[in-house]
Symmetry: C2
Subunit: 337 residues, 2 copies
């Protein structure tokens, strides 16, 4: 069923059928009606991909995530999907599976298929990203790359809130459990932590890096125990949840022995034990915002301001944080109160 079949059926030219669909108003109401009716009857469906050859547009955007399996992306994907659908775009999903090569390949293959690209959690270098952005509209999520449009969370403010919260609870030293070194967010969070602790006259300690997974968190506990911290902020919730498990297994009580704070407020951070105090990012909104920025580039052409869009963060206090324990926990035999 092509546009020609519909045209023949209605006794009009193919171009008229085309106009009836893509240029409403440039065709008389009567014929437009007739055409739509015939199209419906014949079961004709527009083939947006044909446009690629003639207009250069495909009506699709690419979404490359570093790992579809990571719960952080759930709301982000949905937000992007919804915003794309609203603009009548379809979403081409690519899972990099935490592999730089797969990511590059996926981007390469997307390049000619999409009108724009969303990069979420990319592991590529800034230079590589800029190279891609030269070829088509790109928006990077949760990372700032000079010269490339991006949408980032207000990491610094989130960390600041977390540190203040711990300060209120009487903590004086905060241990940061670091995520991957290639992660832009990890750098920003650690820096913000140092600044905030400095201002509040606290101490900051860093351990890691660790893989940003539950298992990574479990394995981090060993390093942590030597430090015997009273307050920990983890790079993200996955790591924090792993910490919770590892600490429980080691007989360290959270939050009475040590307070733990995560980042992202992912699915599961509310029903782990204890419920995780964490910095929430409006990931859904972030995804939508990213698509909006992409749309601005695609429709509006080049230029505009290239400064990152910043979405706010907030601290969600649950049960993994508590006042600092009075004395040193070495006397493991001390009876519980």
């Amino acid at each position: 069923m092509t546009i020609n079949d519909v045209a023949r059926e209605c006794g009009v030219a193919a171009s008229t059928v085309s106009r009836a669909f893509s240029r409403p108003g440039r065709v008389s109401a009567a014929t437009a009606e007739r055409i739509k009716e015939a199209a419906e009857r014949l079961g004709y469906r527009a083939t947006p991909l044909s446009l690629r050859t003639v207009t250069g547009q495909t009506g699709m955007i690419g979404l490359v995530v570093s790992d579809v399996t990571n719960p952080v992306y759930f709301p982000l994907i949905r937000g992007a999907e919804a915003a794309a659908t609203e603009r009548d775009w379809m979403t081409l999903l690519t899972d990099a599976q935490e592999s730089a090569r797969k990511e590059r390949d996926g981007i390469d293959r997307s390049l000619t298929a999409v009108d724009g690209l969303l990069l979420a959690g990319t592991r590529m270098s800034d230079a590589s990203i800029r190279l891609v952005a030269q070829q088509l509209p790109v928006v990077v999520c949760n990372r700032a790359v000079t010269g490339v449009h991006s949408v980032v969370a207000d990491n610094a403010r989130g960390i600041r809130r977390a540190v203040e919260h711990l300060a209120d609870l009487g903590h004086t030293t905060i241990t940061y459990v670091a995520g991957p070194e290639a992660s832009w967010a990890d750098g920003v969070r650690w820096r913000a932590l140092r600044e905030a602790t400095y201002e509040l006259e606290m101490r900051a300690v860093r351990v890691g890096p660790f893989p940003p997974t539950v298992d990574g968190g479990v394995s981090a506990v060993q390093a942590l125990r030597r430090l015997d911290p009273t307050a920990v902020i983890a790079y993200n919730d996955l790591l924090a949840i792993g910490l919770l498990r590892g600490l429980a297994a080691a007989g360290v009580a959270v939050p009475s022995d040590v307070s733990v704070i995560g980042f992202d407020n992912i699915f599961g951070s509310d029903f782990c034990t204890p419920g995780l105090t964490t910095v929430a990012i409006p990931l859904r909104g972030l995804g939508g915002e990213a698509v909006a920025r992409l749309a601005a580039q695609i429709d509006g052409g080049a230029g505009h301001q290239i400064r990152p869009t910043v979405v706010p963060t907030r601290l969600v206090v649950r049960d993994s944080t508590a006042p600092r324990r009075a004395q040193h926990r070495r006397a493991r035999s001390s009876p519980p109160t």
Copy 2:
């Protein structure tokens, strides 16, 4: 950069360039080399979407999920993604957002863009699915539809194992907390539960339906408390995790007062409290298998056996199941042992 630019650069015909890429061996090694070099230099990239007009193929498959936010789909999406990439296909993702209309729309829009369609957790009627399957290759995940290719988990065996496990623990009555009525899996699981309990001379009780979400599970607790069950099997893990939370809030101890079993083994079922005993589905494999079946249809043409591919399930025993409590729990004031 088109095929023509490369052709001009090399002093050959466009068709030769085309052949150099898509029909290796039908062009002399020397020219092939020359062409590839020039293409590289000019930054030419193949545009697979153009093929749609001439070959009818797009090199993309569609993946429609009822809710991208549901953790069950993550391994499935990844499995499908990986299998598709292996075959050099790209994945067009559509999120139905639990809305039948959005699902229909998404499918409609995919129809002309993809070579085949994977339906995961579809809410459509069997008839509608068959209608779609008439228009292009379709594989349904986790649901059997006569006349349509499908990949399903061995729900019955999973339930059977769960029931046996509870029987071993001395339980005599099992309460099933049902999921959505439109869900094929819900029907199958409940039926299997009835059969298994019948064989083992136990009793089966059903409550619900409830939305298959954590909140749904929390709200199900009210209905459950009237029944005062000793063993519960929930439609899925989301529901089961909600149950765990609701029961804890109501002061009912799991597993000593009541055993709870879920289904799916989703992310989070291991770190909720207590760890959830659940029936695991190899979702990743299921997604890969579904793509394989799709490939068989696309390449191999029509026909073949249309019987569902069945992937195995297994029971993962964690901490939410225990021997049946000795006496009736009404005396809420009885001291803990």
